[in-house]
């Protein structure tokens, strides 16, 4: 992939050029061109706002995501293992799952007020069900040989969970976590637009409301895309670690 960076980059440059040209040829269009956006980003950096907002958004995502992990994953693993547990909770989670995290906003504000806690709650809600389902599915996919070998060696239940179950579900779990991290990033932007006053989502909303600074709006979008991509790459590199990555090299 290293050698093939030239053409994709040219393609992106081409798209940017088309964008810039179409903006220039339509004066009066509120939409800013890429150059204006770049200037907007520079301005944000100069005022120290960019770093501050990115940190705020990442902070919230991390909290919501981690909380969802430590609740949903063990629960999902348990439900995947005990079929009765799964039967008990399945209908409930099937109904709650399609409810957009944003639909929880009124309840979030009711319970947590306006501020960090509600947005973290929203991210938590958005991450909980995907992680739950991934954990359940991962347990179902453990090859039976591993379970038998674990029992053969006389492992206690806790030892079995730690030394066979967790490593066996890791690859699939990590992929699910990466995808869920992406979801969390999508949610944080929306949550911030409504319920807080810092962060990238807030930036976008505020820049529009308080002065129609659409260059900053798009700048915010670009930064959101960039940081989201970086988070994704970071999770991918975690997946690559050899002791987790055993699955792809299996067959």
């Amino acid at each position: 992939m290293r050698r093939g960076w030239l053409r994709p980059t040219l393609f992106i440059v081409l798209l940017l050029a088309i964008w810039e040209v179409s903006v220039r040829t339509h004066p009066g269009l509120i939409l800013p061109g890429p150059i204006a956006v770049a200037a907007g980003i520079a301005e944000l950096i100069r005022h120290g706002l960019l770093v501050k907002y990115v940190v705020a958004s990442v902070f919230r995502v991390t909290w919501g995501f981690v909380l969802a992990c430590i609740t949903a994953i063990p629960l999902g693993l348990a439900l995947g293992w005990y079929r009765r547990g799964e039967m008990a909770f399945n209908p409930l989670s099937q109904i709650l799952r399609p409810i957009s995290p944003l639909a929880w906003i009124p309840l979030a504000i009711l319970w947590f007020g306006v501020g960090d806690l509600s947005s973290i709650f929203l991210i938590f809600v958005g991450c909980f069900f995907p992680l739950l389902l991934t954990a359940m599915s991962a347990v179902h996919n453990i090859p039976a040989v591993y379970v038998r070998a674990g029992r053969n060696f006389g492992l206690s239940s806790t030892a079995f969970v730690g030394r066979v179950l967790y490593p066996a579900v890791m690859p699939q779990l990590l992929v699910g976590m990466r995808v869920t991290m992406g979801i969390a990033w999508l949610v944080v932007v929306a949550a911030e637009m409504i319920a807080v006053n810092s962060g990238l989502g807030f930036l976008i909303d505020d820049a529009r409301n308080a002065g129609n600074r659409y260059d900053l709006v798009v700048a915010g979008m670009v930064v959101i895309g960039g940081v989201g991509l970086l988070l994704d790459l970071a999770m991918r590199s975690l997946e690559q670690m050899k002791s987790f990555n055993w699955k792809s090299s299996e067959e």
């Binding site: 591993y146 070998a149 029992r151 053969n152 006389g154 055993w246 699955k247």
Partner: protein, 262 residues
């Protein structure tokens, strides 16, 4: 390097494994299918037993019952006088495929059952079994770096490291190419002669059975019963062109042929 008949020597010390009137019946959707019927088998300590039979006849089921992974519908299995009620470290099952844990290194796998030992002793044992199965130099490698034959050797090492009384092998070389298979048979014999465990080996390959076993148990097709037990009285190393070898091989082939007709 002829060895004394292990079966003869061990009969004096009593039987290691005793299966009595084993039966396994599966029930699904109201229909019941009898997989095993009236299996009576006695295995002496240190013996190498092969179980052969047509595909799907229940060889693996028998192994799983003897290992304690499956509860029989009738009958009992006793090992060293004790009834088998579940899996146990004293009898380890070696699988055909995907048996080793891919997230652990060679060392990690071999040491898997050794967590109760002190570090020095554990490391010593790991080193010993790495050497036994000839995987020196690969201690830190992951199973994905090893060939199929090496992975099976790793599985055997992991099994032996916990000093089991019995080793159950379920078509362990089935997924390997024929050249590797021949090599692995030699390796297994070498290890067996050195370590002297009781081995119960399931295979559908007649040649493999005649080359390895002291006695060969022939199972009929479903519902599986013990059709015949053939004693292989050739000392190791066995010449696969020798007349006696071919005689025994033909005998077994005939047995299996009969089994299809029942």
């Amino acid at each position: 390097m002829a060895l004394a008949q292990p079966a003869v020597a061990a009969i004096k010390s009593g039987f290691k494994l005793h299966a009595q009137q084993l039966g396994v019946v599966y029930g699904a959707n109201g229909k019941s299918v009898s997989a095993l019927e009236e299996i009576n088998l006695e295995i002496a300590d240190g013996e190498f037993i092969c179980i052969v039979g047509p595909s799907g006849c229940g060889k693996s089921t028998l192994l799983n019952v003897m290992g304690g992974f499956l509860a029989p519908t009738s009958g009992t299995v006793t090992i060293d006088g004790e009834r088998v009620t579940g899996p146990d470290q004293r009898r380890i099952l070696v699988f055909q495929e995907r048996g080793v844990f891919p997230w652990l290194t060679v060392e990690g796998n071999i040491g898997f059952g050794l967590s109760k030992l002190r570090r020095a002793e554990r490391e010593q044992r790991i080193a010993r079994y790495v050497e036994l199965v000839r995987l020196q130099g690969f201690e830190r490698s992951y199973p994905s770096d090893l060939s199929g034959g090496m992975r099976q050797r790793l599985q055997v090492a992991r099994a032996l490291a916990v000093n089991p009384d019995i080793l159950f092998l379920d078509e362990p070389f089935g997924a390997l190419d024929s050249i590797t298979r021949v090599m692995m048979r030699g390796e297994l014999l070498r290890i067996w002669q050195q370590e002297r465990r009781t081995i119960v080996f399931v295979t559908h390959d007649i040649d493999e059975a005649v080359q390895l076993a002291d006695r060969v148990v022939v199972l009929s097709s479903r519902p599986a019963r013990i059709q015949e037990i053939v004693t292989i009285d050739i000392p190791h190393p066995r010449n696969i062109s020798a007349p006696r070898y071919l005689e025994l091989r033909d005998e077994l082939l005939k047995q299996i042929g009969l089994a299809y007709e029942i």
